[in-house]
């Protein structure tokens, strides 16, 4: 009836209509009886910058749940500050860690309920080392396992230059800072304010050569500046991703410092309770096995669900997690020290050393050993953190009845420490001890130095093994100290009691300047010197 090639649309059209109608009916039924029908919804999310790598999953999210995420990226610390102000402009917050937020809530007495929060994945902040650097550092470590202390040691010596995000704005930087500070304090517990009253990280900071504001941009910045750097401190996931991308000349070797790591768990927080339904859908989706697997494979973060088999690169044991301080004051102190190291002027220490005859023999040997130790020979953990560091100016004033000589060196290369050793190798001793006249002299030197560069962070260390028997009295000194210009008066003196010196006078002098006394009669001279390194009071 119909010629070849003649169309038969009406019949087919009817059949197609029937089919379409049928499927519509089915879909309608399905939609009405399925409770989690993907009703389209858009959620505004305040997110940590590094979560930009989740975006490839968002198409799946929209398809599976009807949820569209509108991400606004910020550094974690900045995002936290806007949350703590209590005025939420977003439906959700998705941060790498809620610790900064919890600390702020605690600081304000925890009067408000914290938002509903669900961990979504995990990644520790660890160290990516160039293979040859890892090899070199490992040779020096007795058990071949690297610690934060080893890294701090190398950074102070100038043999480790690393990139790390700014801890004032990024969570990876803050986690690294807390990790290394906890390792330096070595109490085995969470840091307390008294554990951070002295800055032990100046040596570690000396190696911090590249920084960016947010963790998100750090890997790229490292890749561009690879040539001049030895290491990248950031999330394990970022390091693995960088290695997988193959853009580096040599992949970084990932080191989990043996003295412990800090993890992030990427909590998703509900800010607007009216969005609860969508939030539930989103968290259920994120924690489903299929999505956890995708997250693991794409972003290289560790799954939060316990029983999902790991890809090989995520099977490495993490070592031990460090306890995170629960006091905002600790974090504030660490950040202030960091800020001082970044933008404060160079550090200068004036060592005022007693070279009277009573120091001859064992005592002077101990003093020389102390300077060797501070120069890098001390293998202990505290030694690695407290040692002299690159960029530091060290002035030695030897004194007896007067200041015998005054020599300075700015530590830039190994030979500079040789010169420093030479300053204390002199065997000329004086018969009398003019402690306070010498300290007075040191303050004049400090004032001169500050007049040349007012940004310098100057401190004085006074070591004596005898009582003042020449020159001015302590009271005379204190009178002259009080008359100094404010900048010089701000220079603190730390006194080291050794041998037969007068502890009451040494303590009084130190306290008058805002410093304190370390006692080398009950411990080694080296330990007493280490005790006052980097102190603020």
């Amino acid at each position: 009836m119909t010629g070849p090639g003649r169309p038969r649309p009406p019949r087919r059209r009817r059949a197609l209509t029937a089919l379409a109608l049928a499927w519509l009916a089915v879909l309608a039924t399905l939609a009405s009886c399925t409770s989690d029908s993907p009703e389209p919804v858009t959620l505004r999310v305040l997110a940590s910058s590094e979560l930009a790598d989740m975006e490839p999953l968002f198409d799946d999210l929209r398809r599976d749940t009807g949820i569209t995420l509108e991400m606004e990226y910020q550094g974690t610390v900045e995002a936290t500050a806007s949350l703590a102000a209590g005025r939420y402009r977003h439906d959700l917050a998705w941060l790498s860690s809620s610790r900064p937020f919890q600390l702020l809530l605690r600081k304000h007495g925890r009067q408000t309920e914290s938002p509903l929060s669900t961990s979504t994945m995990r990644s520790p902040v660890v160290v990516g080392l160039k293979p040859e650097v890892a090899q070199r550092l490992r040779r020096a470590a007795p058990d071949g396992q690297l610690s934060w202390a080893d890294l701090a040691d190398a950074a102070a010596a100038g043999t480790l230059k690393y990139a790390m995000a700014d801890p004032r704005s990024s969570n990876s930087g803050l986690s690294a800072l807390v990790g290394v500070a906890t390792a330096a304090a070595a109490t085995g517990g969470a840091l307390r304010p008294e554990d951070v009253s002295c800055d032990r990280l100046r040596g570690f900071f000396a190696g911090h050569k590249l920084t960016v504001d947010s963790s998100g941009g750090l890997a790229g910045a490292y890749a561009r500046a690879e040539g001049g750097l030895d290491a990248l401190i950031t999330y394990e996931s970022e390091l693995l991703a960088l290695n997988r991308a193959g853009t580096l000349r040599a992949p970084l070797e990932i080191v989990y410092p043996k003295d412990g790591i800090v993890l992030s768990d990427y909590p998703l927080m509900l800010l607007d309770p009216a969005r609860r339904d969508a939030y539930d859908r989103l968290t259920a989706w994120l924690r489903s096995e299929a999505v956890q697997r995708k997250i693991m494979e794409r972003t290289l973060r560790r799954p939060i669900t316990p029983d999902l088999p790991r890809i090989p690169s995520l099977r490495t044991p993490l070592g031990n997690a460090l306890y995170f301080p629960d006091d905002q004051a600790v974090v504030d102190r660490l950040l202030a020290d960091y800020a001082a190291a970044r933008s404060g002027g160079p550090a200068r220490v004036l060592f005022l050393l007693d070279f009277s005859t009573s120091m001859r023999g064992e005592r002077i040997a101990n003093l020389r050993a102390t300077f060797d130790g501070l120069g890098g020979a001390d293998d202990s953990r505290s030694g690695k953190f407290a040692r002299f560091h690159q960029g530091e100016t060290l002035t030695v004033l030897r004194f007896g009845g007067r200041v015998l000589d005054e020599q300075s060196v700015t530590y830039g290369k190994a030979g500079d420490l040789e010169r420093l050793r030479g300053f204390v190798a002199d065997d000329g001793f004086a018969t009398s001890t003019a402690v306070w006249s010498a300290l007075d002299h040191a303050y004049r030197s400090a004032a001169d130095a500050l007049a040349k560069d007012s940004r310098q962070r100057v401190s004085i260390v006074l070591m004596t093994d005898g009582e003042n028997n020449a020159g001015m009295s302590l009271d005379t000194f204190l009178g002259r100290y009080a008359a100094l210009p404010p900048a010089a008066r701000a220079v603190r003196t730390y006194t080291v009691r050794y041998g037969d010196s007068d502890p009451r006078e040494l303590d009084r002098a130190a306290r008058a300047t805002g410093g304190h006394m370390a006692d080398a009669t009950g411990q080694s001279l080296l330990n007493a010197f280490k005790e006052i390194r980097g102190c603020h009071e």
């Binding site: 009836m1 119909t2 003649r6 169309p7 649309p9 009406p10 019949r11 009817r14 059949a15 029937a18 089919l19 109608l21 049928a22 499927w23 009916a25 089915v26 039924t29 399905l30 009886c33 610790r99 919890q102 600390l103 605690r106 007495g109 925890r110 009067q111 309920e113 509903l116 929060s117 669900t118 961990s119 995990r122 070595a186 109490t187 085995g188 517990g189 969470a190 840091l191 043996k258 003295d259 412990g260 993890l263 768990d265 539930d280 560790r302 939060i304 316990p306 029983d307 790991r310 099977r315 044991p317 993490l318 070592g319 031990n320 997690a321 460090l322 306890y323 995170f324 301080p325 629960d326």
Partner: protein, 415 residues
Amino acid sequence: MVAGERSVVVEEPRLTVRRRSSGSWSRRSLLLFLLPVLATVLTGLATLTISGNLLLPFERVVVLEGKMASKRDFFEDEEVRRILLKHHISVHITSSGSREVAMRDIAAFDFVFPSGQPAGDLITGVRAADGRYAKVHRPFVSPIALATYREYAETLRDAGIATPLPSEGADRPLYYSLDMRKFLDSIDRGKRWNDLGIRRHGIANANRIVAQSPDVCGSNSAGTYLALVSFTWRGDGPDVPTTDQEASSRARSVKHLMEQGLPAADVFRTYISPDGKGIAPVVVAYEHQYLTYQVRHRAETGRLDSERVLLYPSSQFVTQPQFISLNSKGDRLGELVTTDPDLRRRAMELGFRILDPAGEVAGDQLARFLTERNVPVPALRGDDTRSPMPRIRYLERMISIVGDCPVAPLPDQAR
């Protein structure tokens, strides 16, 4: 439009053909329509039959809003959800620490399910004072314990702090008794795991000894652990503080024993994750959490996880979750949870010690169930050795000091 006109012409005869068949739909069209519909109906029926919800589409399911902490494990269980659906109930859960539940507004919920009596008392006290509905059901109990790893338990054993308990059917002990006094002594002296010689067992840990718990200001397990610690550390004092002053000084004397920095949420899930040994090697947990984990591990892998073990503190603190219905809808669920045989059986399978109507631990059903599943039965003493919890007023005071958080507003009768 030429083609269109032509086609109209050609079409004419076929119209007759169609008229001859039934109505305006051909058999083929009808089939095309019916097949998907039929398939859907069949699939739906099958799904409903399998899930046991055959009648569901025809009866309304009531969605109940509940707020709870670790007891969400019960309501999130697939089997429990299925049983509840048979009763046309579905539960929507909001997670929160148990004390957090008590501290916040719960008006939007049909029921709350704090993990222990202190938080339950807070809630019922406040509700009673306001003259509002609250009915308590106590379906089961679970002792507080410390979940850890083999190396840690063996290190404690070397130090004379832990002793293996009989764990029939396991090659190595799964359960240990923990001498709380000695354990706290080590913490008091600032000992680290390395000091106790953990390196002999192949791992190193320079961290101080501590049992990690969730935030004591939010969680029942942490609050109960605080009660356990302060009971153990009471010295010559009474078992529990009986004045505000005693509570304060007791809290200050144990604060350092629980110092762990910023607490993490969900410590048990972290503990059972592959990274647990590094992140959460010793955690405060409920016995039921551990038993559920082992039963599931055994079912999935055919063997026990002999790396993860449970320490039973020498003084036993049994927690009693409080199902508190806040309206009659919630109460229907409360009744079910305490009386429905299927739900009671499932609670037992989830490692809870279920209570009989008189409030006593019901026989040895849990022991029988564990034996069936080839999971060793923990040898526990009877309930008569249960240690005393401080009165809510004093516990609250201790919590606020140890956790550095506001005291809960207590109703007058609790003061």
